[in-house]
């Protein structure tokens, strides 16, 4: 260890760096306009190394999928940056330059301490719209990135502290609901300014040399800690698979083949055998593919702090020639929200047999994007409504999965029904548990959501980017898969089922028409025939399952009159099933 560094200073600087990021996160989220940022917390702030953008620290409540991407994105900005000065600020959303999808707009700012470049500060926030074919950016059948919206290479939006009004005008001329974006831009820039002030104080107090030494040491320590965790996994080769329903254009499932080789304290990830690049927007840029693996590992070992060292023991082969390594001009809007979650699911599936006590059956794993754009004749205004929803989580050694958990890559709250109905001409007629959707298991999966929306006035176009419509989230250790995602559009008295099940775009609906969505349940964990029959009886009493499902899925026979377990018949059923 560096001589200027005692263990106390090290711990205190670690805390201090995270605190700087937490304060940036807080400033951003409280001042933001985009509900995706302020309510869904779809944002992240961090500090990155001066030379290569390596992650130094990130806020505790940053969006998980940005865990890995931001250092790649910052690195690309550094490569392209010329003549940087204090007060400069780059804006960039190019997915191929270390990004996710176009809606995730990154602000990247060089941080100078006493006139010298010390590090970079960056944040990402999900803007509600960045132009393109459909409001919100999730065009389910785009075939080129140009259809997905405005793509910005790193450009200086602020030059030495002054906003470039011309660049701003270009941006605002190319996106929807532009009038509120100035609020987000100011919030996003103000958050980095908070970071500058706080980091300066930290450096003033401990000195540049000590802080630099601590950053180096913390990186080593995080790696050491991650290696200690990985050593719990027995050496070996582990394989997992996951499927994306379709790319939205060609109606075929996309396969993710995950081979994980564990030797010593290293993990190697090989995705050879995954599907080739696809025509629709389910391609994943490499930064997102890597980040998805990072966040999956972080979900398994949640208490390892995040910096560049954390992920040093993870070695990821570039999955060239697959849809997980998207190159220009492949459309990518679905990668951050959906494909990332399938990648994580493949990692979970691979490692569950190796460390069953640490893992869990698959969670619903979809962001459940339902966007509807239309015109309200009563207010004579156009609107874009977004509904996101959760689904069931998988069972684990600790117990049943929770119902309506948020997406694997997010930490978002759903918008209250009362707010949706205040803002848009809709009536939500049902918001309920997706009964029967929890995968059967000794510890069952949690349940998805079952909702119905009716359009009250005017016409609108509905779009969906969801997943797990073909097959439900995987069960583990003998547990069953969770229930699938379904979408039905009721228009003019007919029921329309999207051919791609979970993805569609621009479906025209009119007054009185409805949209019905059921989101996936979580996978079951362990043999359902071992579930305590009394718990199955409770589940039936609560209407989570029907008596038939209790018998078929759990081998539990209930007295139709009292709802109590008939033990003799249950034994007989369970024995017959085992035989």
């Amino acid at each position: 260890m560096n001589s200027s560094l005692d263990p106390v200073t090290l711990a205190v600087i670690q805390n201090g760096l995270t605190q700087v990021c937490n304060e940036m996160d807080l400033a951003f989220v409280r001042a933001a306009f985009s509900p995706v940022i302020s309510e869904a917390l779809d944002r992240s702030d961090g500090i990155y190394a001066a030379e290569d953008g390596a992650l130094i620290a990130q806020g505790d409540l940053g969006l998980p999928v940005f865990v890995g991407t931001m250092q790649f994105g910052t690195r690309e900005v550094i490569r392209r940056a010329k003549r940087i000065a204090p007060g400069d600020l780059y804006i960039v959303n190019d997915p191929y330059l270390g990004g996710t999808h176009l809606m995730d707009v990154r602000f990247v700012k060089p941080f100078f301490y006493k006139g010298e470049l010390f590090s970079w500060l960056a944040n990402t926030g999900h803007w509600p719209d960045t132009g393109g074919a459909v409001p919100g950016g999730f065009s389910a059948n785009a075939t080129e990135v140009e259809q997905e919206g405005l793509r910005l290479p790193p450009v200086k939006l602020f030059k030495e502290g002054e906003m470039d009004e011309e660049i701003l005008a270009i941006i605002l001329s190319n996106i929807r609901i532009a009038d509120q974006r100035i609020g987000d831009i100011k919030a996003q820039a103000a958050a980095l300014a908070v970071g500058e002030r706080r980091l300066t104080l930290l450096l003033d107090r401990y000195g540049r040399e000590t802080v630099e030494a601590a950053i180096g040491e913390l990186r080593v320590r995080a790696e050491q800690q991650m290696r200690a965790k990985i050593e719990q996994i027995p050496d070996g080769i582990y394989r997992g698979k996951a499927f994306v329903d379709s790319d939205g254009v060609v109606n075929e499932a996309l396969r993710i083949a995950m081979k994980i080789t564990k030797t010593g304290s290293d993990l190697h990830f090989d995705m050879t055998g995954s599907s080739p690049p696809c025509q629709g927007p389910m391609n994943s840029v490499i930064a997102t593919t890597r980040s998805s693996i990072y966040l999956a590992i972080k979900h398994i070992f949640p208490d390892v702090p995040i910096n560049a060292g954390t992920f040093a023991p993870l070695h990821i082969e570039d999955p060239m020639g697959t849809f997980l390594y998207a190159e220009y001009p492949r459309p990518v809007s679905g990668c951050a929200a959906e494909v990332s979650q399938r990648i994580a699911e493949a990692v979970f599936a691979a490692l569950t047999p190796a460390i069953p006590d640490l893992l869990f059956a698959a969670p619903a794993g979809t962001s459940g994007n339902f966007a509807m754009g239309g015109h309200d004749p009563k207010t004579d205004r156009s609107y874009v409504m977004y509904l996101i929803s959760g689904g069931g989580y998988g069972g684990s050694v600790d117990g049943d999965g929770i119902s309506n958990g948020c997406s694997t890559i997010g930490i978002s709250k759903t918008t209250p029904i009362e707010i949706i109905e205040q803002r848009y001409p809709v009536l939500i007629e049902r918001y309920a548990l997706h009964e029967g959707s929890g995968g059967a298991g000794e510890h069952r999966g949690g349940f998805g959501v079952d909702y119905r929306v009716r359009l009250r006035r005017g016409t609108a176009r509905a779009s969906f980017v969801m997943d797990h419509g073909r097959s439900g989230p995987l069960g583990a250790l003998g547990g069953s898969d969770g229930g699938v995602n379904t979408v039905v559009v009721e228009r003019g008295g007919e029921r329309y089922h999207p051919p791609h099940l979970s993805k569609d775009q621009g479906i025209l609906i009119g007054e009185g028409d409805g949209v019905l969505v059921k989101t996936p349940g979580g996978g079951g964990y362990g043999d359902p025939m071992k579930r305590d029959p009394a718990m199955v009886a409770t589940d039936v009493r609560r209407g989570y399952y029907t008596p038939d499902q209790a018998r078929e899925r759990f081998g539990v026979v209930l007295d139709p009159a009292t709802g109590t377990v008939i033990e003799a018949e249950t034994d007989r059923w369970r024995r017959a099933r085992a035989a």
Partner: protein, 689 residues
């Protein structure tokens, strides 16, 4: 019966986790009595009555008793709640189970959530209001009756009626409640809008469900206590503390039982506000550190900050206005360990009170913050390590050496110093986040330290945060009981407006506020509490169009106007974010009114400890560790500090319920109320980072 005389005796009694504290005083300042008895967990009333008995006061001489209870908090946390049923809008019975779910922790996909009302006790009836308050589907009254009967049959004791958009048009909810009350055998029927008339169906529904779930629990408890008091000759009404920092008559407390759920920490903040005001400090951060956690609150311009967005636990929002107290998971029992990365970590695991710190001798083996304080001489070893105690200072030293010192290459004492440094750093960071998230810079505040461990860390923490002044009250151990004594009667009202400011009918706003005031006055009249004057506070929750977060700004009633609101909001926004947005319209979201019945102030200086006859010399000296190393440090008793005395650090001042550490660079003086005012001398430039 004693001779008739004007009743001037007032009593505050607070039930804490371990002790029930009582303070009694004559409003003229004489006759102070303090009692401390063990809390009786199963029925807190026994402890309360025992504390009263200990004072020896004849209850017919008592003018008022104000009671802070954790009965409802405990009921919620342990889920020892009433069997409660729900009747709600058709299609929405699962709102209370689905919530606006996230997950318990950002990383890790495990964890659990149990709704307050299980699904089989959640019934739906046909009815629907839209967001404008227009009826879409009329209320099916027959279905309400059927549901009520079914829930009674299912053994429910309490009932919640919660309909969508009832905040804008409560007529269906009110009618359904009326029907239910005709059939329900007890008064435990909660209509959501009566507890909270604010949009967001999950938050409003949970708040109503919490109310119903604890109503019978609170009612039974209060009835038992009142009966006990009456038996002992107390002829008047009992007042109960609420989470908003005000009191309410026991006769109506259970109507809005949810208001008492977070009342414990509120009384501490009320006492702090009262004491600080008297000491001339108007901006104060309260810091109450106990065995497992710290409670932090903010007082601005003499008024405790109130929030309506607190969560009791994961996904359990309680959205009634409450004193904004934030709990940080660091206390005397927080465990120090060296993690996988070889980094020293303090908390979040706690040894609690069993096994507790090593020094308790209850089998605790892991070093804690309290043990570190002991090893460094900041706590008195002879006081903590009792004679019958199997643990010695050497045992503690050995634990610090083996578990922390060896892996870190430090001596046991160095390791203990490191534990304190890191613990203070973490607490300072958390305090910063608490003040920042409410838009304040901690350097503009004084630190009010209480609780068993607060005054032990306060000066170091203040230095870390750049806070210039620390106040340690005369009796830090009974701050919550004092809070009961000084609290006013208070009732809060919230109403959602949610319209762009330029479209709001200001006459209607004024009418709404008038209505809230009238409601408050009516309730206070019904309570019949003896008050000196009525006061009213208004505030408005505002945001820019398109935002979802709100900022609360104070409102002056007679002069309320569109421009004044716009200006106040823009100014608050600038202060908070340094962002101005002239291009975007402001929205008026909610209107708040607090109606306050001021009780007669108690003379604080009566609390100042009587001067002891031990003189002013240090009673002993011992080696104490400070940031700059060991100091031979004088040890005093608190009784040696009459008003006006001033000394320089380093020093340790001990009193029965706490230990106060004065850092070497600090000075301390005693103010006329007996508070210790510490001037912090060694604030690092710019505060903590």
């Amino acid at each position: 019966m004693t001779a008739p005389q004007p009743q001037q005796i007032v009593v505050g009694v607070d039930v804490g986790g371990t002790f029930t504290d009582l303070i009694l005083m004559n409003q003229d300042g004489g006759d102070i009595r303090i009692a401390k008895v063990p809390t009786t967990v199963e029925n807190q009333a026994f402890g309360v009555l025992a504390a009263l008995e200990e004072t020896g006061i004849s209850l017919d001489r008592v003018k008022s008793i104000v009671h802070g209870t954790t009965a409802t908090t405990n009921a919620m946390l342990e889920r020892k709640i009433a069997r409660t049923g729900l009747i709600t809008t058709e299609g929405f019975r699962d709102v209370l189970e689905l919530g606006r779910r996230t997950r318990p922790r950002p990383y890790g996909l495990k964890g659990s959530f149990r709704p307050l009302i299980p699904r089989e006790l959640r019934f739906e009836v046909p009815e629907r209001m839209d967001a404008d308050g227009q009826v879409v589907i009329p209320l099916d009254e027959g279905a309400v009756r059927d549901a009520v009967r079914a829930l009674l049959e299912a053994g429910c004791e309490s009932l919640v009626i919660h309909f969508l958009h009832a905040y804008v048009n409560p007529s269906h909810e009110a009618r359904a409640a009326e029907i239910a009350r005709d059939l329900w055998p007890n008064p435990y029927v909660t209509a959501g809008h009566q507890i909270l008339s604010e949009y967001r169906e999950y938050e409003r529904g949970v708040t109503a469900a919490v109310n119903a779930s604890v109503q019978p629990v609170l009612d039974r408890y209060i009835a038992r206590l009142c009966a006990g008091l009456a038996e002992r000759g107390y002829p008047r009404d009992l007042l109960v503390m609420q989470g908003n920092g005000g009191t309410v008559s026991s006769t109506i407390v259970s109507e809005a039982a949810v208001n008492t759920v977070m009342s414990g920490p509120a009384s501490g903040v009320m006492a702090a506000a009262f004491t600080a005001r008297s000491a001339g400090l108007s901006n104060v951060i309260t810091y109450d550190m106990g065995g497992t956690s710290c409670d932090v609150g903010l007082i601005r311009d003499g008024v405790p900050e109130v929030s309506s967005e607190l969560e009791l636990e994961y996904a359990m929002p309680i959205h009634v206005p409450m004193v904004d107290v934030h709990t940080i998971g660091a206390g005397g029992g927080s465990i120090a360990r060296v993690n996988d990365a070889g980094i020293l970590q303090v908390g979040p695991e706690s040894a609690g009170s069993t096994p507790g710190p090593i020094c308790y001798g209850r089998g605790g083996a892991q070093p804690t913050i309290t043990d570190a304080n002991l090893l460094l001489g900041r706590l008195n070893p002879t006081a903590l390590l009792a004679v019958d105690n199997p643990v010695s200072l050497d045992d503690i030293r050995a634990a610090f050496g083996d578990r922390l010192g060896a892996p870190l290459g430090m001596s046991p004492e160095e390791a203990a110093a490191a534990v304190l440094r890191i613990a203070n750093d973490r607490m300072a960071g958390a305090l910063r986040m608490v003040s920042l998230s409410r838009g304040h810079d901690p350097r503009d505040f004084a630190l009010f330290a209480f609780g068993g461990a607060g005054p032990l860390h306060a000066s170091a923490l203040a230095a870390e945060l750049g806070i210039p002044k620390v106040l340690v009250p005369a009796r830090p151990g009974i701050t919550n009981a004092l809070g009961c004594l000084v609290a006013d009667v208070r009732h809060d009202y919230v109403r959602t407006v949610n319209a762009p400011l330029d479209g709001v009918d200001m006459a209607q706003v004024r009418a709404l506020l008038e209505q809230q005031i009238a409601e408050g006055h009516a309730v206070i009249e019904r309570e019949g509490v003896d008050i000196e004057e009525l006061a009213v506070l208004h505030s408005a929750d505002m945001q820019f169009a398109g935002q979802s977060h709100i900022l609360t700004v104070p409102v002056d009633m007679p002069g309320i106007g569109r421009e004044a609101l716009q200006t106040a909001f823009e100014a608050a926004y600038w202060t908070r974010f340094e962002v101005s947005l002239p291009e975007i319209k402001a929205v008026l979201v909610n209107l708040h009114t607090a109606v306050i019945g001021k009780r007669r102030a108690v003379p604080l200086n009566a609390l100042a400890p009587a001067a002891a006859d031990t003189g002013s010399e240090a009673v002993s000296r011992r080696r104490v560790w400070f940031a700059d190393g060991w100091h031979d440090t004088p040890i005093f008793w608190r009784e040696q500090f009459p008003a006006g005395r001033e000394i320089a650090g380093p020093a340790i001042i001990e009193q029965l319920d706490t230990t106060i550490v004065i850092e070497p660079a600090d000075r301390v003086r005693v103010d006329p109320d007996g508070n210790l005012i510490v001037s912090v001398g060694d604030a690092p430039e710019g505060g903590a980072a």
